[in-house]
């Protein structure tokens, strides 16, 4: 499949002129969707930049199914989903630069420019009237969660192992311990069992899993892989190669309980301990970053703090499903088109005082967009920080409550607020000093 995608891409040529209407950085599901939609909406010169030698981002390595239910109304594998978009890219007028790394964004002058590097042409400057960032995300590492012990080989992030197994064709080991119940970890637990490995367990620090419920059932339960909640790795053993790990149960403050520690032999420790939006490029252009999502702060048009620069996909916030990333790609493209047509006014939109701040309140890890104008309907994307049953989402200052039967950190919550609802806020806001709406998830009190 990867070869097919590669072949398709080699046919796409790019010209030498380096001025574009729209440059999309990142050729994963978000970037492909954005580039295709922009071209469909009539943008003449669209450039899609991808650092790998094929389009799709991580889709080609996601050989499991579960893609496309929203977008194509059928359940596809990652490579299939990828191929459908690669076809779209091929069949419409989009220039593609593969094997090309965007190094910095330069937004200081009149023109927005991107410095890119490639073995094909060296380092050059590309200018654009609008830019969409669809940079993906990266995995948290052992160093960031500070697991003590020695530093042997065989401690690997789940996404890297996914690439090893599904693209390169080799296994990291035979006896696997997985720390963290993120989706890639769950998917890799099943994948490694199918390849003949022994997965000794998935250990999750929190008292709940951070993965999708469907993955827990289809990847762990169906394969009888044990999931241990409130457990963590407290020490790694092994000189050159990992030999074992200490696993401990944690108390409610997440501190390991010494008496509840056991040693488990393994030759691989797989880490699925969270993803972080890729924002190094955004930082080079001093784009405002939301510390909660780790990605750029945006308004309802996915417009960042820099005029004409939009963000989508996992570089905006980490999604559970590629379909959602694709939809955000479409939205970013529509906004970029409005911007190019002069319909999306206001310089530095996001910093404008006229915008309503959206604050993440109780039980919310993050909410996107972070700022809204209140002049149009907004579909909020909300990540709960804990699981709750019979809860409601409360929007302060507009007196709005939305019932939710069950929230779970593993599943993104969508909450649509209409222009009318914002109207109420804007009316009363002229009298009060507050310029923000605080969004919280609360438990329904019985009898209400």
């Amino acid at each position: 499949m990867v070869k097919l995608i590669k072949q398709a891409e080699n046919k796409i040529k790019h010209s030498s002129d380096s001025e574009y209407d729209l440059v999309v950085i990142g050729g994963g599901p978000g970037g492909m969707a954005a580039a295709v939609k922009a071209a469909e909406l009539g943008v003449e010169r669209v450039l899609l930049i991808e650092r790998d030698s094929f389009l799709g981002g991580i889709l080609p390595q996601c050989i499991h199914s579960g893609f496309g239910i929203k977008i194509f109304n059928s359940e596809l594998t990652g490579p299939e989903y990828c191929q459908l978009f690669v076809e779209k890219v091929r069949n419409i007028s989009i220039e593609v630069m593969l094997d090309t790394m965007a190094l910095t964004l330069d937004l200081k002058g009149d023109k927005k420019s991107i410095i890119v590097s490639s073995r094909n042409f060296g380092i050059k400057r590309i200018t654009a009237k609008a830019i969409i960032l669809s940079l993906g995300c990266r995995e948290r590492t052992r160093g960031q969660i500070l697991i003590p012990g020695s530093r042997p080989a065989g401690v690997l992030t789940a996404g890297l192992v996914q690439k090893m197994v599904n693209i390169e064709g080799f296994l990291p080991g035979k006896n696997i311990v997985i720390l963290g119940s993120g989706d890639i970890g769950l998917i890799m637990a099943r994948r490694l069992v199918l390849e003949g490995c022994k997965v000794k367990g998935v250990f999750e620090l929190m008292p709940f899993s951070t993965g999708l419920l469907r993955n827990i059932s289809q990847c762990l339960e169906d394969f009888e892989i044990p999931l241990y909640l409130s457990h963590t790795v407290t020490k790694i053993y092994g000189d050159k190669r990992i030999k074992s790990v200490d696993i401990a149960m944690v108390d409610k403050n997440l501190n390991p309980i010494q008496t509840k520690t056991k040693n488990i032999k393994c030759d691989t420790l797989l880490l699925s301990v969270g993803l972080i939006p890729e924002n190094e490029l955004s930082k080079t252009a001093e784009i405002e970053i939301d510390l909660k999502t780790g990605g750029p702060a945006v308004d309802q048009y996915l417009h960042t703090s820099r005029n004409g620069v939009f963000a989508c996909g996992n570089s905006l916030f980490v999604n559970d499903l590629a379909d959602n990333v694709t939809e955000d790609g479409y939205l970013a493209a529509q906004s970029a088109v409005s911007f190019l047509n002069g319909r999306l006014r206001s310089e530095k939109l996001i910093r404008s005082k006229k915008l309503i701040n959206i604050e993440a309140g109780e039980n919310i890890a993050y909410i996107v967009p972070q700022k809204v104008s209140g002049k149009s309907d907004v579909n909020f994307r909300i990540r709960a920080s804990i699981p709750l049953r019979n809860a409601f989402i409360e929007f302060s200052n507009i007196g709005l409550k939305k019932k939710v039967r069950f929230v779970n950190p593993g599943e993104l919550i969508f909450a649509k607020i209409t222009k009318g609802d914002f109207g109420k806020f804007l009316e009363c806001n002229t009298k009060t000093a507050s310029d923000s709406i605080k969004v919280s998830i609360k438990k329904e009190v019985q009898g209400q």
């Binding site: 650092r51 094997d99 790394m101 190094l103 910095t104 410095i115 590097s117 490639s118 073995r119 094909n120 042409f121 060296g122 380092i123 990266r138 995995e139 590492t141 052992r142 160093g143 960031q144 500070l146 003590p148 012990g149 020695s150 530093r151 042997p152 080989a153 065989g154 690997l156 992030t157 996404g159 890297l160 690439k163 090893m164 197994v165 390169e168 064709g169 080799f170 296994l171 990291p172 080991g173 035979k174 390849e195 407290t234 020490k235 790694i236 053993y237 000189d239 050159k240 190669r241 030759d267 691989t268 190094e280």
Partner: protein, 497 residues
């Protein structure tokens, strides 16, 4: 059985062994270096703050004190020749109470007596220290500033020496462990049995059952120096392993301190200059370390010790962003039972020269020690004839300019693989990685220490497979045989059908 003859065998390819090897390459000798690790500088050398001390500290009459200042000067001269990047940061030794100021005054006096320049006690009362180090804590009342101190990268220094020594015909036997060593009186020569520590011994030039026959031996075996010395009957010293644990912070925290800031050591233990918060030449911040007696094979980090580092150094520097930690690691210092360096001929056999117990300021003293060792060899009867073909200079392979990308056009014109970025965090190109492999990197860590690929915030998530492919291609071995750091540190277990 295969035997290789050498005039001098150096055991250990840390910074000391590499400096000695390069020093000996100035003479017409056949020098061979034996190292159990798959690369140079992987013992004590790589776990080091990288501070080149100015030379005010140490006990009166100790080698440490008497060599350090001249060692600093000699290091600078050689770093220039070998293109080892130096940052002239100076250093600060910080104190917390009035009685400790006395220690600073003693050090100042001692430093001046040894000819140090740019030594000054700076008070924090009038804000002078704060001006120098904006994040210094109010708890610090004064600091001893040493203008001649600077920072380098210890493993880069070892690699530079290795490359230059190799160029000057020194032979390196990496991934080769000394299993026995004895002196044959009849043949007036040492016989050293070595065993490969890697199953891919062909790429390291070692083979099972290989014997080195050497007229002289230099023992620079770090924490194992006492065990090597025992092989020739030298029981005069012991080496204790003392662990130090560190944090390494992301370059985003790189402005935290401008120079190494040392916390004065606990007067009761007097063990080392204590803990330090220091910038690195790679723009990271290194924070550590502890001082814990341990076993020679204990490289593990512990939460307890790292928490101690956090508390102790948090009292000296404010706002340390520990949430920007990239990695934590531990290393072992080689501490001799005399507390000082052990340099010179061993009593049991004068053709066996020790360079043992090399701990702080051992890095600073690497070059001066190498000169002493060559003098000692001469004294023991080795003929030192000048090598007229000696090339003192070594040039670093040019890296991409990460600040001003325009400067890279010339590099790209010369080699188009400069355009292919393999490590996204540190912006390392394929050209640099290929060069590292051509110059001796055989492992992922070897590439990392030469190019910084994999050293950034994603810790190799993006580049690991890309680097493995390049290693496989250039070394001519299958990808599943590529290791992280030699031995059995394979990244892959079995190839699938």
């Amino acid at each position: 059985m295969n035997t290789i003859k050498a005039d001098v065998a150096v055991i250990g390819a840390g910074i000391t062994g590499c400096a000695i090897a390069r020093q000996l390459s100035k003479y017409r000798l056949s020098t061979l270096v034996i190292e159990k690790e798959a690369d140079v500088g992987w013992g004590t050398t790589k776990v080091n703050t990288g501070l080149i001390h100015s030379g005010y500290a140490g006990e009166k009459g100790s080698l440490k004190l008497s060599l350090c200042h001249n060692g600093n000067m000699l290091f600078r001269k050689n770093a220039y020749e070998l293109d080892i990047p130096i940052k002239n940061t100076g250093s600060l030794l910080n104190v917390f109470n009035q009685s400790q100021i006395k220690i600073l005054e003693e050090n100042l006096k001692q430093g001046k007596a040894h000819g140090l320049l740019g030594l000054e006690i700076i008070s924090n009362k009038d804000g002078a220290l704060k001006k120098l180090e904006p994040n210094i804590s109010k708890n610090v009342i004064a600091g001893l500033y040493a203008g001649q101190a600077c920072i380098i990268s210890p493993y880069e220094a070892a690699i530079a020496l290795y490359e230059n020594a190799k160029k000057n015909s020194v032979r390196f036997m990496l991934a080769s462990k000394v299993t026995s060593l004895k002196y044959e009186k009849s043949q007036k020569c040492f016989f050293i049995n070595i065993q490969p520590t890697s199953s891919e011994h062909s790429i390291y030039g070692c083979e099972p059952g290989l014997v080195i026959a050497a007229d002289y031996v230099v023992n620079a075996a770090g924490i194992y120096a006492d065990e090597i010395a025992k092989m020739v009957g030298d029981l005069s010293f012991e080496i204790k392993a003392v662990k130090g644990q560190y944090y390494l912070l992301d370059s985003e925290a790189g402005e935290l301190v401008k120079r190494p800031n040392m916390r004065i050591s606990d007067p009761k233990t007097k063990k080392s200059k204590g803990m330090v918060v220091a910038p690195t030449t790679g723009n990271n911040i290194i924070i550590g370390s502890t001082y814990e007696d341990t076993d020679k094979n204990d490289f593990s980090t512990t939460k307890k010790a790292l928490d101690e580092v956090k508390v102790k150094l948090g009292q000296m520097i404010e706002n340390i962003p520990f949430n920007k930690t990239i990695t934590i690691f531990a290393g072992l210092r080689a501490i001799s039972n005399t507390g000082d360096f052990i340099i010179g001929q061993c009593q049991a056999n004068k053709k066996f020269i020790n360079a043992a117990g090399i701990q702080s300021p051992g890095l600073t003293c690497a070059f001066i020690i190498s000169e002493i060792i060559s003098d000692q060899l001469k004294e023991a009867g080795l003929k030192l004839e000048k090598n007229t073909k000696f090339i003192p200079e070594r040039k670093r392979f040019p890296k991409l300019d990460k600040v001003n990308f325009k400067n890279n056009h010339e590099l790209f014109a010369r080699n188009s693989s400069y355009g292919e970025i393999i490590c996204r965090c540190e912006k390392v190109s394929e050209a640099e990685i290929v060069n590292a492999i051509e110059n001796g990197a055989t492992t992922l860590d070897g590439v990392k220490f030469r190019t910084r690929a994999g050293m950034g915030r994603c810790q190799g998530g993006y580049c690991t497979l890309r680097v493995m492919k390049l290693l496989s291609k250039k070394l001519g071995i299958p990808i599943e045989k590529i290791t992280k750091s030699g031995g059995d540190s394979y990244q892959a277990k079995i190839e699938m059908d």
